[in-house]
């Protein structure tokens, strides 16, 4: 058999197999694309508002990989199978980072506002000093409240991880 006739036979085989698979799907009634709901325009079918979720169900192609791992870092709900201490470490580290960032942000924002009013001439040096002192006191109280909140959420996450581990055992 020549190379040309081999290629022709192979091509006709592909054609026949492809047509046969399409016919089989037709028989299952599984080739009618028009019936698919457009999820992007139907918010009732969505539980999250992010674009990747919407893209995935209605219009997008077969997803080459899961988006769950990319989202994990943003979701409080993520629970993992590997050892919980790693997760706890992450949460604790995050907490310390939060605390520093919170204090810096609050102090920075308030200082900028006070200095602005000083330079604008609406505040004297003495009253500026008093305001800064008061502001530092308030910002500490405010960040403490936020830290308390984060600590509670951390404890809740740990409680849920432990619950899942117990169920698995």
């Amino acid at each position: 058999m020549t190379r040309g006739s081999q290629a022709a036979r192979a091509q006709s085989s592909i054609k026949a197999r492809h047509a046969s698979a399409l016919a089989a799907l037709d028989a299952l009634g599984a080739t009618k694309a028009a019936a698919i709901p457009n999820v992007a325009s139907d918010p009732s079918l969505s539980t999250r508002g992010d674009a990747s979720f919407l893209r995935g169900v209605g219009g997008g192609g077969t997803e080459p990989s899961s988006v769950i791992d990319e989202k994990s870092a943003q979701l409080d709900e993520t629970i993992v199978s590997h050892e919980a201490p790693a997760t706890r470490g992450w949460v604790s580290g995050e907490l310390a980072e939060h605390k520093q960032k919170l204090i810096l942000w609050i102090v920075g924002t308030a200082l900028a506002a006070l200095l602005g009013s000083y330079w604008a001439g609406t505040q004297t040096a003495a009253s500026l000093k008093a305001d800064v002192r008061e502001m530092l006191h308030d910002s500490k109280a405010s960040s403490d409240t936020r830290i308390d909140d984060l600590t509670k959420r951390t404890a809740e996450t740990e409680r849920r991880i432990n619950g899942v581990e117990t169920r698995r055992r």
Binding site: A7, L22, A30, S66, D69, I79
Partner: protein
Amino acid sequence: MQITEGSAAVPANVVVDGVKGTRRKARFIVEVRYEIAPRFFDIRGNIIATTHQAIKDQFPHWQSDQGAVLFGESAQDPVNQFHIGSDRIAFRIEDAESVPVWASDADRYLGLALDVLGKEIRTVSRLGVRFIGVHVGRRTATFEQYAQSVRERFHKLPPDIDVDYVDSMAHLVHKNGQYRVGPVRRGEQWLRAAFRRPDAGTPGVGLGIDVDCCAFEIRHKMHADVLRAFRHVLELTLTTEEALVRQAGLLDD
């Protein structure tokens, strides 16, 4: 069972991979989508408890969030994934041993997911099988040779402009999916987007082929309906991939 060349009647459970000799790097995916199954949110623990035991060898790790349980071969950034979610099931393997082995595993994994979710899924809205791969010919050796082959065999170029083409990709969408074909070389963005391990086993240059075929609205009375549809869609994907490799001339080398 003997499969003769040119036979149209290939049984649904037999996988014919005509381009295994050209495929050097690949990611195979099957994905089943359905309208959100609300009970999924209540049974995530049950899914893990009943499924993980059966797949621990291949997927020792799992993670769960609001929308899905994901099983993987590693805890961080798994390459191979078995995903059971509120709106989809997916089985994704990179550099599988062979297409028949992957197909047989996919049957098993889909079966496990349908076992645990089956009653919640009445109609499969979309079932897709996607093969992303890098193919090489015996005599095609440079990026420019692949690029020229794609230009000559997949594009009709305007004759009135005189430009030096350096790259291209053909992307065609059809009623049952879509495909993309283009020359590719190691380090390209396309490889990083397509694969979780873009450098592992990837040839220096080749033909990138991405085939995604799908079926819609499959009534789910029995698992066998979905598994049968999977085999037919797999056949669409395989034949499309082989047709593209032939069209590119890699089997003539």
